[in-house]
């Protein structure tokens, strides 16, 4: 019978938690605090932090303004990033987005009305958060499931060719800025 060596048990979370925190200000002046691990999920924010030379010492004194994202979306984004900050890096689901299972927690988070979802995906695109982008795309793609073509047209608001032509004509007929 082997005897287990006596070693101190260290909780992984304890090792990980001693976070460097950053402050983000949304377009409508809401302030959010986000940990370093979480903010790294956003390539845009992390590039900004790196370029601004923010460190553990000065991070909280230098809030980062994000003028393209409102408070509501930022709240969702911060929640998402904090939730997934310790996830292992996954391959980009560029071609086979259907192959992953959307976790229930995330499905709940993204159960918002379509206008909000629209704004959220634009914010996600701006902040370059790959995983949230994959998840949003999945939720939007799932809207097409088991739908007839006419339902697809309505769900995605796709104009007919005639409507597109009419729009184009009216756009070209309307006077320009000088006119």
């Amino acid at each position: 019978m082997s005897v287990e060596p006596e070693v101190p048990i260290v909780q992984v979370e304890e090792v990980r938690e001693n976070p460097v925190l950053y402050k983000i200000i949304s377009s409508d002046n809401h302030v959010f605090t986000i940990s370093e691990h979480a903010v790294k999920l956003s390539k845009t924010l992390w590039d900004l932090i790196t370029n601004l030379g923010l460190t553990a010492e000065n991070a909280l004194d230098n809030p980062i303004p994000v003028e393209n994202v409102n408070g509501k979306n930022m709240e969702t984004i911060v929640q998402f990033c904090e939730r997934h900050k310790y996830d292992e890096e996954e391959p980009e689901y560029t071609n086979y987005i259907r192959e992953f299972v959307l976790p229930e927690w995330d499905r709940q988070l993204l159960s918002i009305d379509n206008e909000e979802l629209f704004q959220l995906i634009l914010a996600t695109n701006y902040l370059d958060i790959q995983k949230l982008m994959d998840y949003c795309c999945r939720v939007i793609g799932d809207m097409a499931k088991d739908k007839t073509p006419e339902e697809l047209r309505i769900i995605y608001g796709i104009p007919t060719d005639a409507e597109d032509d009419a729009l184009e004509r009216s756009a070209s007929d309307s006077p320009g800025p000088s006119g």
Binding site: N114, I121, N125, D134, C137, A144, P149, I158, D164
Partner: protein
Amino acid sequence: MSFFLLLHLPDSIIRKIIHGFELLQLLEFSLLSNRARLLVRSLNLTAQFFVFIRKDEICVSISGGRWSPEFSFYKNQGVSDDMVQREHQIDLPRPKFADVTICDQTNKLYKEEYELKNWVDHLLSIFNSSRIQELYLVTDRYDFKSLAKVFDRVEIFEGPRELRSAEDFEGFWNVSITSDTIYIDEFVYEGKEEKFHKTLMRNYKHVAFFNPISLSLDDLLMINSSETTFFYASFSTQKVLNRFLKHWIKGSNPRLEAIVFNCNFEQKFEMDQLLKGIDYKIVPPDREKRFSRLERGALEYYTLEGGIDIKRCDGTFATLNINGTEHSASIGMYVWQY
């Protein structure tokens, strides 16, 4: 029903979303509008197209990396069976729908205003293909002129199983005229010499005749394709081939790169007769020479060991590869390209 303004998103995001669609959804989406079609096209899906013109359907089989859908038009659409009984060729009517089979599941796709050509062009467009790789014509049910208009970009044309009349062959000619390669499965020579010669004179990349055919020297001298294969050729005498080789040496058939005959002779096959009066050189088997040829549209390389070299008046060499038995022989002539 609430809606999501998909097309107001940046194209890069739309592409990501629709890339997650199942193929059927993607096809349905592409049919919604021209912009939707262009978005699907921008996914850069690629595929090869194979078309089968059958009596009861026109089938477009698409072979892609991720998907292999098959589209069927006219099947069970009540397309004028009475016309077939009257032995009339029918124009291609506007399909009522397309049956698409994906992984053994068949669904119907509708686009009322689409003629068959619109369907084919739509599919070529969304799979970023400029042409159909292979078209097999196994019936003369449909009007050939209509077929030629629909399938105007074909790489390999194969057919037909049966031609009823000289008019049929004219039609067949019309369909095949835009392809690079033509494989002729069944062909009745008698009475259609003129059409046959037209086929030989076209500058195809590759022409292959799969049925028995009797060839004269005139036939051979009309060959203008780069590669020609006769799977069951017969000649009145071996002199026909001998004279063909002599004409080539003097400069005939300048486009010829390869010609292969599997042939039968009434008399006993004799190499001396074949090469009589020709200046040739027997090459030892340890000389290996590499050639290329088209095999179903794809360039394939192969090596000839030994053979018999002959030389044209302009200095161009060709190697003959001959495997003869008592009354038959396989004769290949391969022109050096360098």
